[in-house]
């Protein structure tokens, strides 16, 4: 099973200027797209019958501090009808911003809150931009690489 392969080809056709690169490992395909286009692409992924990704399984991020665009937000989509998964990534500066997907999938609300909480990435237009796991008065974002595991 080659997860996401067909959709990435369709994405390249539909949004030729938004797909930056694509790659795969162990049969799982992913593509990097332009951050500012993610909401538009998300809408298409959900609504187009050929894509039909009715579930946004997960939103998370990876911090690459040495890269010029250090933050990478990763989305995992799932299509129930086609039993297909798709992984999309966007690269952004230290704090973002990235357009929110919370208006397309309700699950993005909490997942983006967690991504903000853990990395400090701002999601534009998020309906409830609060921390979710850490206390409200906490000042750091624990999953950023510059934060050590212990502060002794």
């Amino acid at each position: 099973m080659a997860d996401g392969e067909k959709t990435i080809a369709a994405l390249r056709e539909r949004f030729p200027d938004a797909v930056i690169s694509s790659s795969s490992f162990r049969g799982q395909h992913w593509a990097e797209v332009k951050a500012e286009r993610i909401a538009e692409i998300g809408r298409w992924l959900k609504d187009d019958p050929a894509a039909a990704y009715d579930v946004l399984l997960d939103v998370s991020a990876v911090h690459w501090p040495d890269d010029p665009q250090p933050m990478e937000v990763v989305y995992h989509f799932f299509s129930l009808a086609r039993n297909d998964r798709l992984r999309l990534k966007v690269r952004i500066g230290d704090r973002g911003p990235v357009p929110t997907l919370a208006r397309i999938w309700a699950s993005a609300n909490w997942n983006e809150r967690e991504t903000y909480d853990m990395f400090g990435i701002v999601f534009l237009g998020h309906p409830d931009p609060r921390r979710i796991l850490m206390p409200d008065d906490y000042t750091d974002h624990p999953l950023r690489k510059e934060l050590p595991l212990y502060r002794g």
Binding site: R26, V74, H76, A106, N109, P135, L143
Partner: protein
């Protein structure tokens, strides 16, 4: 406005705000919900989580893969075996290895035993919350039986850490398989017993039917998975859609509901327990012989006997324990059907002995985010029915 406790707002003097949890017997852990009430009707519910956040994803970046395994015990602490299997499968996917058939069968037994154990806690506490205390005694009696089996197999009730990348710690012996056989044969009768207390019980039906309803579109949009999603009519089970550990070889059904209410979630989980016993029955009948781990001294710990007698094995053991094993550079997302739903591990490796980043997609996190839909517009007394029917485990929500 303070959300600490009971207060009245100036503009809407009839609306009062009530704080529930994080330390409340009906929240099944440290879940906190701020409820706005108009009389007994819930106008708004805001869940607050994070009280059990231990930073597991951060810890994972600073541990070898093997060292992280015990942390998976402490996510869904009602079904540690299922998380052990899920994590090892993800790392094995990253490594591109597959475990021998006997190991797969033992892992299936573990997953289904974990499912039964988790569902027994859910059923007992759910009924107890509703005032049906008898059920609790029945399910916790049988849960002890299940725990005896878990302990006999792994040496621990909760902190099992039984699987290893590339296998399991040790084989299941004949005696344990015989003990499990007795459990599997008897257990469906026990499920009938629980059902005789609840399924046609007029009070139970009144408290659960039409309560905490979620439509399938809302459930999907919130990323709900597991029995709660299936009760809303969506037949999605990773054991069927993306079989792992040989689930495709077993004959079992995926129970679904139609209404998406508390009662349907109850029926789905009850039937799942029977199906789990059915899967275990088949796994026991067709238990393959052979090794329970891969033969790769760079990844899997060598046999203890050999470590004590041979220099080479001693070195392998030393390397794996002190430094861990090397993983290729790449990234995988692998998920399994845990008792609560889709438990996914997204591992990003840049090579080396620890993940660069490990993301845990926990089912309870998404499931509990639907709580406002379930309870808003309903009665405050039904809030606890809704929470119990979602079966959240806060260790997994917060990680």
């Amino acid at each position: 406005m303070s959300q600490q406790g009971f207060e009245r707002s100036e503009e809407h003097p009839d609306i009062i705000t009530v704080n529930m949890g994080p330390s409340h017997p009906a929240t099944h852990g440290v879940l906190r919900i701020v409820l706005k009430l108009d009389g007994e009707t819930v106008v708004k519910a805001v869940p607050h989580i994070g009280y059990l956040h231990r930073g597991m994803e951060k810890i994972a970046e600073n541990r070898t893969y093997l060292q992280f395994l015990p942390y998976t015990d402490r996510m869904d602490y009602l079904a540690p075996l299922a998380a052990n299997v899920g994590f090892c499968l993800a790392v094995e996917e990253l490594l591109g290895i597959e475990v021998p058939p006997r190991c797969q069968a033992i892992r299936v037994l573990c997953c289904e035993l974990a499912r039964i154990g988790a569902h027994l806690v859910w059923l007992g506490t759910h009924a107890l919350d509703m005032g049906a205390a008898t059920v609790f005694f029945h399910t916790f009696r049988d849960r002890e039986w299940h725990y005896d089996l878990v302990e006999d197999l792994t040496g621990a009730r909760l902190t099992t850490s039984y699987t290893r990348v590339g296998g399991v710690t040790h084989d299941a012996d004949r005696k344990w398989l015989d003990d499990l056989r007795r459990f599997v044969d008897e257990f469906p009768r026990r499920v009938d017993e629980y059902e005789s207390l609840l399924t046609k019980n007029a009070i139970w039906i009144k408290r659960t039917q039409g309560v905490g309803v979620i439509r399938s579109e809302d459930a999907l949009s919130h990323g709900m998975t597991g029995p709660s999603l299936r009760a809303a009519g969506i037949e999605y089970d990773l054991r069927k859609t993306r079989p792992y550990s040989g689930y495709q070889n077993y004959d079992f059904e995926i129970p679904t509901g139609t209404e998406g209410d508390v009662y349907d979630r109850y029926l789905v989980r009850i039937e799942e327990m029977r199906q789990s016993a059915r899967i275990m029955d088949q796994a026991l009948r067709a238990m393959p012989e052979g090794p329970v781990n891969i033969d790769d001294p760079k990844i899997f710990l060598p046999e203890k006997k050999k470590v004590l007698t041979s220099m080479e094995e001693l070195i392998h053991q030393f390397m794996i324990v002190t430094e861990g094993f090397e993983c290729p550079s790449g990234e995988v997302y692998h998920s399994t059907e845990a008792p609560k739903g889709e438990l996914g591990f997204y591992i990003i490796s840049t090579g080396g002995r620890a993940p660069y980043r490990l993301r845990i997609r926990s089912p309870s996190f998404n499931n509990i985010s639907t709580l406002p839909i379930l309870v808003e517009g309903g009665l405050i007394a039904d809030v606890i029915a809704s929470i119990a029917s979602l079966d959240p485990v806060l260790g997994e929500v917060d990680r």
